[in-house]
């Protein structure tokens, strides 16, 4: 027979509630204690890795490539970000290189499909949505993208003057894009970034960059008013009084 707890009215209920509360308190305490221990360990690892990186700095060339690579992967697995000292010894981690190769493989076609250029935020979205598990952090993605060019892969990272970062295919030509955009501006009389985005089926950010690039080539000029920033054919250079 299951033991029946004696119930002594309201007092009994209160007591069992208190009991429950004590139990949760305890498990929370235990959890935090474990966390503290874990953090203590990590702290040791951090200080050790700092000493090692200081040692590497002192002795510069004495350490083989392999050792720095291994050291870097230790740092990576700890989640310590120490790029300044790390970057001095190795362009980036092996992990990033592999990731870059993978990115090039899965993104080459999609980048072509959207017209040779994809904003990094869109890349982040696509890659992580496709992965499902083992997601990439924004930093990992960026670091991997930085490796695309040195590895001479078919897509490269590009940073516009505005700070917008995109992946573009190696075959992409700014000049050709500027030509195409300036033709479109001529056909329409003038365009804004939003209008260009709609007609080309690209994002507004990229449309804006295309217009600025066309302007940089001297093939467009701007009209900045309260209505919008519009781009016109560059009559200043094309039309002689």
């Amino acid at each position: 027979l299951p033991a029946i707890k004696p119930r002594t009215g309201i007092i009994g209920i209160e007591r069992s509630l208190q009991e429950q509360q004590r139990a949760t308190d305890e498990s929370i305490n235990v959890a935090f204690q474990d966390l503290k221990k874990l953090m203590g360990m990590a702290k040791d690892m951090v200080s050790i890795s700092k000493t090692i990186s200081a040692k590497i700095r002192e002795r510069q060339g004495d350490i083989t490539e392999d050792e720095t690579v291994r050291f870097k992967s230790y740092l990576m697995s700890l989640g310590i970000d120490d790029p300044v000292t790390r970057d001095a010894y190795k362009s980036s981690n092996e992990y990033f290189k592999q990731l870059a190769r993978q990115l090039a493989e899965i993104l080459e076609e999609p980048v072509k499909e959207v017209g040779g250029m994809m904003a990094l935020t869109d890349v982040y979205c696509r890659v992580n949505r496709a992965r499902g598990l083992e997601l990439l952090s924004p930093e990992d993605l960026l670091n991997a993208c930085r490796q695309l060019a040195p590895l001479s892969l078919p897509i490269v990272l590009r940073i516009f003057d505005s700070g917008v970062m995109v992946l573009q295919s190696r075959a992409h030509s700014d000049y050709e894009v500027a030509e195409a955009v300036s033709q479109l501006i001529k056909d329409r009389g003038s365009v804004t970034a939003t209008e260009l985005a709609q007609s080309e089926g690209i994002s507004v950010v990229l449309a804006c960059e295309r217009l600025l690039m066309t302007e940089k080539y001297g093939k467009a000029c701007r009209d900045d008013s309260i209505e919008a920033l519009r781009f016109y054919p560059n009559l200043f250079l094309e039309q002689e009084t």
């Binding site: 302007e215 000029c221 701007r222 009209d223 008013s225 016109y232 009559l235 200043f236």
Partner: protein, 110 residues
Amino acid sequence: QSSKMTEIDWPWQYSFPPFFTLQPHAETRAKQIAAWKSLVLDYFRTTKQAILDIREIHSTPLFNNVSIDRKLPSEVVSVIVEELAKSGNATPLDKAKLRWVVSWHTLDEW
């Protein structure tokens, strides 16, 4: 005023909206400023004016094209007057460089 306006032979740039935004592209900007310089001189000669006050620029049709609803920002007007000063066509009247004498002939030419 209206009789003055008809006398002026507005260049094509005057009805081109980008004329009223300072262009970032260096070569384009050079052309734009050159066009503004000759327009300002032409306007002052035709209307027989000599004083340009930066605070009152938008009351003249020169820097305010009502038909296309564009005004030249006062910073850009300052840039143009500075350019005119370089070629000897303008002289500031005060230290804040708000009032200028515009002469359609340079002193050398006189």
